[in-house]
């Protein structure tokens, strides 16, 4: 490994280094502010390093190209926001706080490895680093029943899906003799009609592992419980960084391994996309808990992303990345509002917590409205352009049936987003709501997210340019 390889790994090393630093600092003396400061500086440094790190392939495992660097930036920025949310959330609770940041940094590292991996081994490594940190994060409040239940559920299901994934990788390896995405592409290109006996089950099992992490239907069962049980900042992390890192990997896998040449695989992905869009939105209609609604809505959003993924090519890939950016912003924003409104002993996840919010805290209500309208895909928000981009990608490929289903599904989705919005503006029922805690850091996050949301919704050229460059290195 050369010096330039080490330089290319700098974004990862900075995150890993700061997690060790937080650990050592906590060993010397527990101090929430120090742990918080160290994590923030590590994440910020990692974000900044993205802009000058050279793009190279580091060993066969990690491909630090423009695409990976783009996601490094996105993931570290999102974790930065989660850390800011977590600070106010943890500060008012009687619990050891320093380990939270260690786990958060380790999970971030795992997601970044996923975004850069070009090999099944690094894929699995990144996945496990991410998952193991998440088990602990979800159940961080060990004295409450719901987080523990959510943590155990996630542990059992994630561990078994990882086993499926591992078995799938083994089958692919047994058939093709390689775990490198580019090599797989090479072998498949040379032999257009491969023997599918081992390959097809292998790919199917890999898809199971990926589908679990992304909470695609029919691997979505864990999502509502984990979203509901996990502390709000952790839910934000699971919804954005964890899924984002995995989707980055899936897109790379699609683009580099040539797996989309198989008609059966494409058919499976189409069914998964349609099922996720419809089931996510329809099941969300039945929920009355805000976190569960957002959980089902995230299932539907992953379905929309699958539509763009299927289209493929430069336009499909750019649509995926743009939508992911928009999804990060609006999901973080929505969970930031949940975090800000949470009382000391429970998260603000009941509809009642939001009734008449506009009359109590008008700015917060408007910000939440903006995030929900963005999730619904209304103009002036990043979510609208994201949806526009996916529809454009679908139209370019002539997948009319898929985008028609997308349109119908997103109209169903509109219904439950509007349900929350309506409640925000109703007359408040009772005046003695639990007083929310003051969280200046979280308010800062909300302000920044809202500005970016509208900026991207009105003037997205700079982001499109950045995505264009990033995609260029992938295809």
């Amino acid at each position: 490994m050369t010096a330039s390889d080490m330089l290319a790994l700098l974004p990862l090393l900075l995150i890993a280094g700061s997690s060790v630093a937080v650990l050592i600092a906590a060993a010397v003396g527990r101090n929430h502010a120090v742990a918080f400061g160290l994590s923030l500086s590590g994440l910020a440094a990692s974000f900044c390093s993205v802009f000058f790190v050279p793009a190279t392939q580091v060993t066969a495992l990690l491909d630090i190209d423009g695409y990976a660097l783009f996601f490094f930036g996105l993931i570290s920025a999102a974790s930065f926001a989660v850390a800011l949310l977590a600070y106010g959330y943890l500060r008012n609770r009687d619990i050891d706080k320093e380990e939270f940041y260690v786990l958060l940094l380790v999970a971030t590292l795992g997601a970044m490895i996923l975004a850069a991996s070009s090999h099944f081994a690094s894929f699995f490594l990144g996945l496990e680093v991410l998952s193991i940190a998440l088990y602990a994060l979800i159940a961080y409040f060990g004295d409450r029943p719901l987080p523990v239940e959510a943590g155990i559920k996630y542990l059992v299901l994630a561990a078994s899906s990882a086993a499926f994934l591992l078995f799938g990788i083994a089958l692919v390896y047994a058939d093709l003799g390689t775990m490198d995405f580019a090599r797989i592409e090479h072998i498949l290109a040379a032999n257009p009609n491969p023997n599918l006996t081992l390959l097809l089950p292998g790919v199917a099992l890999v898809v199971t592992g990926i589908g679990f992490k992304l909470a695609l239907v029919p691997f979505h069962m864990w999502t509502p419980d984990v979203y509901q049980g996990a502390p709000a900042p952790v839910t934000a992390f699971v919804a954005t960084v964890s899924k984002g890192g995995m989707f980055a990997l899936l897109l790379r896998y699609f683009a580099q391994s040539g797996i989309n040449r198989f008609a059966p695989a494409l058919l499976v992905f189409t069914i998964i996309a349609i099922a996720s869009m419809l089931a996510g939105n329809l099941l969300a209609l039945l929920q009355s808990n805000v976190k569960r609604i957002l959980a089902y809505s995230s299932i539907a959003h992953m379905g929309y992303l699958m539509v763009a993924l299927e289209v493929g090519g430069a336009i499909g890939a750019s649509a995926v990345v743009f939508y992911l950016v928009a999804y990060f912003i609006m999901t973080l924003g929505a969970f930031a509002v949940v975090t800000v409104l949470s009382a000391e002993h429970r998260d603000a996840d009941q509809m009642e917590d939001y009734r008449g919010l506009f009359w109590r805290r008008p700015v917060l209500a408007l910000v939440f409205t903006a995030m929900l309208l963005s999730l619904a895909g209304i103009p002036m928000t990043a979510g609208f352009l994201g949806k526009f981009y996916i529809l454009a990608a679908g139209a370019a490929a002539g997948s009319w049936a898929l985008i028609l289903i997308l349109v119908i599904a997103s109209t169903i989705g509109l219904f439950y987003y509007l349900r929350i919005v309506v409640i925000l503006y109703q007359q408040p029922g009772d005046a003695n709501q639990p007083l929310p805690l003051r969280m200046p850091a979280a308010s800062l996050v909300l302000a920044a997210l809202t500005v970016i949301l509208v900026w991207l919704g009105v003037y997205p050229s700079w982001m499109l340019q950045a995505i264009h460059t990033a995609i260029g290195s992938l295809l």
Binding site: F358, P362, P379, A392, T411, L418, V422, Y425, L464, Q465
Partner: protein, 491 residues
């Protein structure tokens, strides 16, 4: 640049009014009024500049703003003004002034946010009338929804949530279908020419197979048909009107329908002439059904707002008929009806709102004999009811007469049936007048009559209707300029 200012003044005025409400409610109202009046002055200045100079017949846009917006998709920020959009911009701003004025004395919760929504929806409507880039058009089209949603959902009546959500879902789904159609056209144009563009002028000549053109046209048509609203997509309007406040109803019935009519005239025929012709018989049949169905349902309503909503649907059926008849005369009538209907229906909603403010009911059965106690209000009600049923000398008559005249040459049977709709209008309009204003005052009602502010507003609207009815030439003259470069309708 004036075109940009038209929108900026409203958006900025809305924000200022929102902030000003924290200082003093009156300041907020004055800022809103000033913003709309400044806009109206700008539009009138624009009108006088281009119409008086005598070159109104020229084959160009009066005024354009064209900037590259999202170059990766070939999206431009392109606003342009011609005779058609000028007329409708003026209508929008007149009704904008009206809606700010009639909200003046009402006790409104969250006053600043109310005015923000009021001005922003006007900005969105102007955006629809001025956009010449299809992406920008769709952007403005969708942007109208959110303020309207809030206006119904926050300041509406008892079942406001249901009405607001229904409105939003109907228009959003149909809007998304239009977006797919826009994208299909965009890629069809790319495959034909190799250029990615959403520019209206560039897309005009896109070669399309008849099959494709029909599907794309239907995508546009459904969005406009829902917004108009046309039978069978009309059910959201009565619900929305029954719950919305008076100023909201002015915009809902007076302006949103106008955007739909505008969209049909500006986009459907010029972009897809072949598919438009092929589809015309179906659309005309639906138009005739809309006319009769709206009229019959209007006759059987007991809720005043629902009655007016169905009456409005019936009138808008004439617009649809006029546009699809393919005759130039009927098209002029359709534009005239859009304007006259915008004024007269809004005025009727104001009258109805004033009655409701005083009697606290919307049920016609409970009213009766109001003429004894509120003669000025009742007189205004009678005037606008007569305008709405098509009394010669008022604007609505000119529009519907021209539509029937033009359609007669294209399709006699349809015209005969549609003319029955005019007859039916007499029944429901007079029923409203008789039940509400005439007869014995049994309750008995003792109510305050029109205040000066209300009286002036309604008086001004009467003057406009009379002017449109007696001397409609300026409207035709202005529209003729636009019709010159809308491709000649079928010959």
């Amino acid at each position: 640049m004036i075109l940009l200012w038209l929108i900026v003044v409203l958006v900025g005025g809305g924000l200022l009014a929102w902030l000003a409400a924290r200082i003093h409610p009156l300041l907020c109202r004055w800022i809103s009024l000033a913003a709309v009046l400044v806009d109206l002055a700008l539009a009138l200045f624009e009108a006088s500049r281009h119409l008086s100079s005598g070159n109104a017949g020229m084959n160009t846009w009066f005024e354009q703003v064209d900037w590259s917006w999202i170059p990766q998709f070939g999206i431009h920020f392109h606003l342009a003004l011609d005779g058609l959009s000028l007329l409708l911009v003026l209508l929008t701003l007149v009704l904008g002034v009206v809606s700010v004025v009639i909200s003046w004395s009402a006790h409104i919760k969250a006053l600043g946010f109310y005015h923000l929504n009021l001005l922003w929806i006007l900005a969105g409507i102007l955006g629809v009338f001025l956009s010449l880039d299809l992406f920008l058009f769709y952007f403005s089209w969708e942007l109208m929804l959110i303020p309207m949603y809030f206006l119904i959902a926050i300041w509406g009546g008892e079942r406001r949530t249901y009405a607001a959500v229904k409105f939003f879902l109907f228009t959003q789904l149909s809007g998304l279908l239009m977006l797919i159609a826009i994208l299909a056209l965009y890629f069809a144009h790319y495959h034909a020419t190799g250029v990615y563009t959403f520019q209206y002028t560039a897309l005009l000549g896109t070669p399309l197979s008849p099959h494709t053109a029909m599907w794309i046209m239907l995508g546009f048509f459904i969005a406009f048909a829902v917004k108009l609203p046309m039978f069978p997509f009309h059910t959201w309007l009565p619900d929305a009107c029954a719950e919305a406040s008076t100023a909201t109803n002015v915009i809902l019935a007076g302006l949103l329908a106008t955007t739909a009519g505008y969209g049909m005239i500006r986009f459907l025929f010029p972009l897809f002439p072949g598919a438009f012709r092929a589809f015309a018989p179906v659309a005309m049949t639906l138009a005739v059904i809309t006319i009769l169905y709206g009229a019959i349902l209007a006759f059987s309503q007991t809720n005043l707002m629902r009655l007016l909503a169905y009456a409005s649907i019936s009138h808008l059926g004439f617009v649809l008929l006029g546009i699809f008849s393919g005759s130039g005369i009927a098209l002029q009538g359709a534009v005239m009806t859009l304007i006259a209907h915008g004024i007269s229906t809004s005025a009727l909603f104001i009258v109805a709102g004033s009655i409701e403010d005083r009697t606290h009911t919307r049920e016609i059965g409970v009213m009766g004999g109001l003429w004894d106690t509120v003669p000025r209000l009742s007189g205004a009600g009678l005037f606008f009811a007569l305008a709405s049923l098509g009394l010669p000398g008022l604007g609505d008559f000119v529009g519907e007469f021209l539509i029937l005249l033009g359609t007669y040459r294209a399709h006699t049977a349809m015209t005969v049936v549609a003319a029955c709709g005019v007859l039916a209008a007499t029944f429901y309009a007079l029923r409203f007048v008789q039940r509400a204003f005439q007869g014995p005052n049994l309750r008995p009602w003792r109510l305050p009559d029109l205040a000066l502010r209300e009286g002036l507003t309604l008086g001004a609207m009467m003057v406009v209707l009379l002017w449109l009815g007696l001397y409609p030439q300026p409207v035709f003259h202005t529209f003729a300029q636009a019709a010159n470069h809308l491709p000649a309708l079928w010959r």
